[in-house]
């Protein structure tokens, strides 16, 4: 396996990403979006598209740059640092990973459209308040050439503004994945959620919604198998994003420890805070390793990525909560104010914790793969 250190190429990519994001999507941009009621920023996405990010996992033949998962993680991490809102994870990571499994003309056209910024995706997976893609109740009933969908999907990230939605449903032949235009459709109700992290998410209700047969991706019954690589790619990239978040929150805190004076000295000279900060740094180091490892494994032996991905997502989830909790506490009063950025990190960390499987879900997978 490639070494667990970032390559020169990855470092350059990170630098380029940082420069784009610091200019066009610093944290103040998210604050501005929230305050103005915007939940997505198409212009910003076009900038990212122009930088090639939309095609990071799309084959060159379909207009992408195909740099691999580790590279996608570098981008996700940098976006986590500034809490950048974009369709990157759902579209450029998950949908691209999913679609590139097929080589028909329609799919190729869609990949090209993703790479060129003309198409975004959302995934409709959850049906309860927890991620559980292997127990789906939304039914897809065969009807002539097509299917009729009935049921509910919750917490569909990017569910309001994405152009298309990938829906996991249960049919008589087993799980099916449908690729569905996210437009006004008879029987489809879309409820925008007012998310604490100010991002786009929706609940979707399907009441006798009819889809045509060509909406079905891959074979009927193979829905979960097709979905799996996309899920793993998404979970790992989300872990990377969350590591960026943890690091950024930690950096804020660590700077504050050096600046803030109380009781006649900088609070960073208090040993109790020093040791807690040092411990947190250690936690972040371990999590970085887990994310680096997941990137390498996804690029080199993707079929054996389950363990590496779940370790990364579990660690990233846990570390982010610690990082923001210590962040608020060590900042004291200012950390609690909306005017300061730490609250944004805390809210995003919580949403990222739940999306695509929480700590217990992934730790459970780890336990199972490790034989207990």
């Amino acid at each position: 396996m490639a070494k667990l250190i970032e390559t020169e190429e990855e470092n350059l990519l990170a630098e380029a990403a940082r420069s784009l994001l610091d200019k066009s999507a610093p944290l103040s941009h998210l604050r501005h979006m929230r305050d103005s009621g915007a939940r997505s920023d198409p212009a910003l996405w076009q900038e990212m598209v122009a930088a090639g990010w939309a095609g990071v996992l799309i084959p060159e033949a379909a207009g992408g740059v195909d740099m691999g998962h580790a590279a996608a993680h570098v981008l996700a991490r940098e976006m986590g640092r500034t809490l950048t809102v974009s369709p990157f994870l759902s579209t450029a990571v998950m949908a691209a990973t999913l679609l590139r499994q097929f080589d028909d003309a329609t799919t190729k056209a869609r990949l090209e459209k993703i790479a060129s910024g003309g198409l975004t995706y959302a995934f409709a997976l959850d049906e309860t308040a927890k991620f559980a893609p292997d127990s789906i109740q939304l039914t897809a009933k065969k009807r002539g050439n097509g299917y009729t969908l009935n049921g509910k999907k919750r917490f569909v990230v990017d569910g309001c503004d994405a152009d298309r939605i990938l829906i996991l449903a249960e049919s008589e032949e087993g799980p099916c994945l449908f690729d569905f235009a996210n437009t006004a459709t008879k029987g489809l109700q879309r409820d925008a959620l007012e998310m604490i992290d100010s991002r786009d998410a929706a609940d979707l209700t399907f009441d006798e919604v009819e889809v045509t047969g060509d909406a079905l991706l891959g074979a009927a019954g193979a829905g979960y198998d097709i979905l799996k690589p996309a899920l793993e790619a998404g979970q790992a990239a989300l872990a990377a994003e969350t590591v960026g978040l943890s690091q950024a929150a930690f950096d804020l805190t660590s700077s504050y420890l050096k600046e803030r004076k109380q009781f006649g000295t900088t609070i960073g000279s208090f040993q109790a805070l020093q040791h807690r900060a040092a411990h947190l740094w250690c936690e972040i180091e371990l999590t970085k390793s887990a994310v680096l490892n997941a990137g390498r494994v996804l690029d080199e032996t993707p079929k054996e990525a389950r363990l590496a991905v779940s370790v990364a997502k579990a660690r990233a989830t846990d570390t982010a909560q610690k990082s923001v909790q210590e962040g608020v506490q060590m900042h004291g009063g200012i950390g609690m104010t909306d005017a300061f950025d730490m609250g944004f990190y805390m809210k995003r960390a919580r949403v990222a914790a739940e999306w695509l499987g929480d700590y217990g879900y992934h730790a459970g997978i780890v336990a199972q793969l490790r034989g207990f």
């Binding site: 959850d126 309860t128 308040a129 927890k130 559980a132 919750r154 917490f155 959620l193 007012e194 998310m195 604490i196 992290d197 998410a201 004076k261 109380q262 009781f263 208090f270 109790a272 805070l273 909560q321 909790q325 608020v328 506490q329 004291g332 009063g333 200012i334 950390g335 609690m336 104010t337 909306d338 005017a339 730490m342 609250g343 805390m346 809210k347 919580r350 949403v351 914790a353 739940e354 999306w355 929480d358 700590y359 217990g360 879900y361 730790a363 459970g364």
Partner: protein, 391 residues
Amino acid sequence: MATVEDHTPPTSEDFRHEIRNWLQQNCPAEMRDGAAGEDSICWGGSTWEFTSEAQKDWLERCAARGLTVPTWPKAYGGAGFSRDQDKILKEEMQAIGARVPLQSFGIWMLGPALLKFGSEEQKQQYLPPIARGEIRWCQGYSEPGAGSDLAGVQCHAADQGDTWLVNGQKIWTSYADRADWIFALLRTDREAKKHLGISFVLIDMRSEGVSTRPIQLISGASPFCETFFDNVTVPKQQVVGTINRGWDVAKYLLTHEREMISSGGNAMGTGRALGAVLSESETGQGDPVLRGGAMRAEVDSLAFEMTLERYKDQAEGGQGVGDASAMLKYMGTELNKQRLELVMEAEGSAALTWGETPASAWLRTKANSIEGGTSEVMLSIISRRILNLPG
């Protein structure tokens, strides 16, 4: 209720019976919904707008019987209840889901300080309006740049003979924008050592030169303000206790506040018990990490409740709580933060939106281990004053 007042002391069963009857007859049906959230609280004050006639009636009936401040002396608007009687009252109120008729910083904080340090005149002037919910108070302790370092007060009161001339700024003043009066720590002697030269002063918020600006928290709420004093004139008789010895009053109140914050532990978050959340959560039961964490939190929370009880018994037995209030404040707020983290986990994506979710309460708990003295300050107090470690 007449009987309650006449017999002293009535047997506790008689007392309970009478309280129950009084509540049955006087507590409006709408005030029996068990609501305890931010929206259902009656804070009182001159600008208070009752959310319903029932809320107004309930406050007035309670105030008339001294039940807004049951343990205060009758002379100052209380009911003169013993702690056991107070406990019975609370149990009976809880049994019918009765709302607390009035909450305020006057009841929690200023009242106890005045009862201990105030002159007879001050008690008669300030306590009854607090009991009736007519005057709403806020607290002016912290200042920008000296969050945890309370003794570092800079907000200045210059001696002008019969009055002070106050200039400076306070921060984290709770609901100062809606308060009628503020009790504040002011520096009255700049030459004295840090903890000396501070006085505990009562100021009318309508005084010329007082202004406020709300601070929005990450939870979306704005329970705190910045408060500015720009050449505000304050009569000297509005000092509580001795001039330049306000730190004694402040210390007493800090101890008291810690107990309040810690005992409010569960009430500050969502009103629902962790167990109930978990047993209703859709997948929480099956996740050992979450379930194990909830079991641990439940054990800890019960032990904490027993500790509150123990310290109350101790305080009543005359042994006092003293510095151990730092422990109550620290453990109460930290355990409550953990509890709300678990509630958020248990409720999964359903908790990630604003509105009827625990999200706002979860974020609010993060301030509990900062306001009223940070957890770190509490640990240092325990280390120095209880464990006698050096430094």
